[in-house]
Amino acid sequence: MLTQAEWYVLLLSLKVSLVAVLITLPVAYALAWLIARRTFPGRTLLDAAIHLPLVLPPVVTGWLLLLLLGRGGPVGGWLDRALGLTLVFHWTGAALAAAVMALPLMVRAMRLSIEAVDRRLVDAARTLGANPWRAFLTITLPLSAPGIAAGAMLGFARSLGEFGATITFAANIEGQTRTLPLAIYTGLQLPGGEAAVARLAIISIVLSLGALIVSEWLVRRSQGTRAHVL
């Protein structure tokens, strides 16, 4: 059904998107919690900074990543020298670009769910002997699961579709950074590439449909979670 090259692109896309979502999940949740539950100077600024990759054209985000994380950049140079980690032209760079683009979506969904958690339940946990950290782990975190699920799903979908930042930062290298959207773009550049583009687009669609079904199923399995207290 799929050619070997298509399989390869598909697997790479999955790898990049999964890694992007997994590295972003804890970061996004921590940011969401900070913004939802704490007031501190610069809170709105932090919120705005998180939204930046949404507001800027993806190509600009990719360019900023390149300035910062390219081997000539301040962070990228250090990564390169200290850890031998090169992000540009590497699938980890594609994952990073996808993660940055997915971050604002994930933070928003999680924040919405954290804000909906009844603080009186946290109080109850505290009186029962839970320290703040434990109350967070046993009450706030599980009760905000719908937001985590929604955020993960949004982030995964966004990562699957990420194009502009990836091609600018990580380039378009077969086997490393040519994910589905880049392969589709590459196909669109070829005269008569429409058939290949259509095939790849259908793969994208099927993939996201599959992810959606899995995530809905996971959410429904933990339905008890969402029922309201008497």
Binding site: R120, L121, L128, G129, A227
Partner: protein, 206 residues
Amino acid sequence: MSFDLDCVVRPGAAPIIARFASEARLTALVGPSGVGKTSVLNAIAGILAPVEGRIAVAGQVLFDSEAGVNLPPEARGAGYVFQDARLFPHQRVHANLVYGERLARNAGWIGRDEVIELLGVGHLLDRWPATLSGGEARRVAIGRALLAAPRFLLLDEPLSSLDAEKAERLAALIERIRDEIAVPILLVSHAAEEVERLAGQVVTLG
């Protein structure tokens, strides 16, 4: 001194002054609706900070604005039965019951099986809180507080919405805790006969 309070709490605009000391094993806190009983319990439990003053229970200072003492709720050892049940909606009844028991540092003074038996919640252990009736939820909340091995109990109308037989059984349990285990208890109740039966001292707020 079981409860020794001299503090001001301010949940809304109006300050509530709580100034009483009680030697009794069970102290009843009474007063008209809205006078501030729940707020006082919240202050003792550590989930509502007083504006100023001092709170000591069973000889331990929990809060003292002058001395800069303010123990976090988890260090106070309150067994708080809230006016609303506040069960954790994402945990089944069994997990709710043992939530505090798992965290308790010292051994509890009442066993899990005994609590389940006395409160008659054995058939509910696998249920989600949202499916419980009013009285069932209240009983689970009581059990959850008792199992946390608390050093003192704060009971906000624990017997309301229980039928006569279950209320009687629970009153007997409270008596037993009061007499045998000697845990200081602060009870909010609107039922005169309940107060009469259980309380060694009655504090009227407002």
